[in-house]
């Protein structure tokens, strides 16, 4: 069973709906017992980084999540804000994140964006930068739905698993051992997203 972590932010219903469609057993929960017994975790999230961390702290789930992810190596998928929360720090609210990957979260660089509007909102193709179990059997020219103002900036480029382009190239997905993250929304990306969730479930 996949536990979709409910910390009060984000579109949890969408993720559960797509899991249901592709036959994945998933439960939206903030119950320590349920989360402890899950075979995998999804950390969703849409919204403000500072609010996200504030809610996570208030939920008192962080020690449990650290234990499951860092020690027990349970596969975890962060989506959008959920993935950003896995970085060390964000410019959004200027607060620290979970620090699970060697990256920070920064705002789109206005000086490099050539008049494009922020947030980056819409479908963009992604470029796979390394083999990754989530990319298995992905259809050609994979495109995903993005909506974000901030993006990951990796210290350790080895952890980047895909990039996308919005005036400039930015990391849009990462993997470090059992820790996966996507800036885009697989749960809202038709067959491309279904494949990614199926692959995650198969890990």
């Amino acid at each position: 069973m996949i536990a979709i972590i409910n910390y009060g932010l984000g579109n949890l219903a969408s993720i559960k709906n797509m899991c249901k469609l592709v036959g994945i057993e998933a439960q939206i929960t903030n119950d320590i017992k349920v989360i402890s017994q899950a075979s995998k975790l999804i950390l969703p999230g849409v919204g403000h980084f500072e609010k996200g961390m504030e809610n996570l702290h208030a939920s008192e789930l962080i020690p449990l999540l650290d234990e499951l992810v860092l020690n027990k190596k349970i596969p975890v998928l962060g989506i959008c804000l959920g993935a950003q929360l896995m970085t060390k720090h964000s410019e959004e609210g200027n607060v620290d994140g979970l620090g699970w990957v060697d990256a920070i979260t920064v705002r789109f660089d206005q000086s490099k964006i050539n008049g494009l509007k922020v947030p980056h909102m819409g479908w963009s193709e992604i470029h796979l930068t390394k083999t990754n179990p989530l990319w298995l059997d992905l259809l050609p020219e994979p495109r995903f739905y993005f909506v974000h103002t901030y993006h990951f900036l990796f210290e350790n480029k080895e952890e980047i698993s895909a990039t996308s382009t919005y005036s400039y190239d930015f990391a849009c997905a990462f993997q470090k051992e059992n820790i996966f993250g996507t800036q885009f929304h697989p749960e809202k990306s038709h067959k491309f997203g279904m494949k990614v969730l199926e692959n995650f479930n198969r890990l």
Binding site: A13, V46, Y166
Partner: protein
């Protein structure tokens, strides 16, 4: 090259889907769940669901119905109609929508934008601006399904709601709605270059050419109703989305 979002607009009323002309005479075009299934299959970029009479009839969103609809959508979906406070917005997000659309309520309580954006982020809050031209050729913003002239200037209003924190703006033409005559290209150009957030062109699209022209004028995305629910102008209902439709910039 960026892919431009092409967004079918679905007008909801009492559980059914309708299509209006100039915001009037809603014609029944089908069942919303069936429509969403078609748009999934055809891989539409995004959907916009508007309970278009909710504010004028002073109704709350039909949470049960819209949840059923959202459960079928595997693409981003925005909902508008009857959202009056942060609690209503929360319920809509909990139904499974990515974005909420605010229009009439903003003339009573513009601070609602910030209240919602602080929790869900600006990208989740869309401001819809319905505009109509008067006899002297001047555009005014209307609320309550085009029934109330607020007297506001569209550009000033767009800048005001941007400042208050909406993440994007739908510019919707009441006069062109359902006419297939094209968008308000002049106004799209005027406003989109003076705001920093994306603008969705809406109202009047009759062809792919209109989409391209709107993008050239400065729209970040294009929305259309009639084109995706009728075969052609003044022809029968056909809910569809051309699967090879792709506009880039």
């Amino acid at each position: 090259m960026r892919r431009i979002r092409i967004i079918p607009v679905l007008l909801l009323d009492k559980g059914g889907l309708y299509k209006t002309i100039k915001f009037k005479n809603g014609k029944y075009v089908g069942d919303p769940i069936n429509a969403v299934k078609i748009f999934n299959e055809k891989e539409a970029d995004e959907l916009l669901l508007l309970d278009y009479k909710a504010s004028v009839e002073n109704r709350k969103p039909d949470y049960i119905k819209i949840k059923e609809i959202a459960e079928e959508a595997f693409m981003p979906m925005a909902y508008g109609g009857g959202i009056k406070n942060a609690e209503d917005a929360k319920k809509v997000f909990d139904c499974g929508f990515e974005k909420i659309v605010l229009n009439s309520i903003l003339f009573e309580n513009i601070s609602l934008i910030k209240q919602i954006a602080n929790i869900y982020g600006s990208q989740s809050v869309v401001g819809c601006i319905d505009v109509k031209k008067n006899l002297f050729g001047k555009y005014h913003v209307y609320s309550h399904s085009g029934t109330k002239n607020t007297g506001k200037d569209p550009l000033k209003w767009a800048k005001e709601i941007e400042l208050k924190g909406v993440g994007e703006i739908i510019l919707n033409s009441i006069d062109n709605d359902g006419t297939w005559n094209g968008y308000l290209f002049d106004l799209i150009k005027d406003i989109s270059h003076k705001i920093d957030i994306p603008m969705i062109a809406c109202g009047g699209a009759g062809s792919e050419e209109d989409f391209r022209k709107a993008v050239l004028a400065g729209a970040s995305a294009v929305a259309a109703g009639s084109m995706f629910v009728f075969q052609k102008k003044e022809m029968g209902v056909l809910i569809s989305f051309p699967s090879n439709l792709k506009i880039t910039k």
